[in-house]
Symmetry: C2
Subunit: 162 residues, 2 copies
Amino acid sequence: MLQKRIDDQPTISRQMVREAQDILHRHLKDVGLKHTAQRDTILRTFLETRDHLSTDELHRLVQKKDARIGYTTVYRTLKLLSECGLASEVAFHDGIARFEHQYNRRSHHHMVCTECGSSVEFFSQEVGDLEQEIGRKYHYLTTRHTFQIYGVCEECRGKSAS
Amino acid sequence: MLQKRIDDQPTISRQMVREAQDILHRHLKDVGLKHTAQRDTILRTFLETRDHLSTDELHRLVQKKDARIGYTTVYRTLKLLSECGLASEVAFHDGIARFEHQYNRRSHHHMVCTECGSSVEFFSQEVGDLEQEIGRKYHYLTTRHTFQIYGVCEECRGKSAS
DNA sequence: GTTGCCGTTGAAAATGAATTTCATTTTCAA
DNA sequence: TTGAAAATGAAATTCATTTTCAACGGCAAC
């Protein structure tokens, strides 16, 4: 099931793609890895979608551009992208790891419909503040948090009522 | 790795165990299943610990009481306990499903150390309020949420510094 | 008390996503 | 150009979870 995202930045500009590629290339150099056509293709494909993609879904999209790129490479590249902050994993609690790109986006959270899998993104400063506050209180050096709301969307409630 | 929990209710009384058993028995009756010694043993073992147990860990504890109880039965009973609200799953994002008992506990969240896996529980009214607020705003009928903070605890920071 | 039904049990097998292996190919610095 | 190091991708493996199935057990009807 494809996880849609509702967003305040509908498309990604050529400029952004270039900047993201620079970030990846710098990261590759930093950790002594090489620059390959596959990695660029995967990054570009990843940036072009607004959805929350599983490795498998991204692999399928990538294959439309270059059918010779394998699942494993997509899997490994997603890890690389996560390392350099271009991607981040969102766990929707359905047993599949999903990724969304983090390029030029403000911090947000998800509300997921448990019937159809669609999701709404929302923004709340308070949640980030809470991370800081709780970390200070218990002497943790916090790095990140996850916050998801689960429920049933309006459309699905309509269906089940009929 | 055993996930410790820090709590405001250190032990569970005989009274609570009895009440929890009643809840399970009623649920079994409701869905047309039977009351068995295994299921009672598993429930009792589950209630006796304050930790966040994986199926495997609970199975090991159960085996100390009755070595003939199999993994599958523990797995299935945890599902039953979840159905009737006695257990709930907490995803610590390490690929293993963990459960904690929900009997007579107030709503709480977790902060997990990514080094040693220990966790702190904390309480925040605001998070629940936020669930309501966001649900109303986007017309979702919300059922639950997850909120976890990840970081490094004081002890682990000490270790890595030395 | 016996019978038959139906749910339970638990070992083993299946599943499926994530990860690793390994032979081959590609990259890149010298 | 060249060779060492990394990348690639198909296949195999891992590992938690879930399902299957044959044997078992309690209980109600006879």
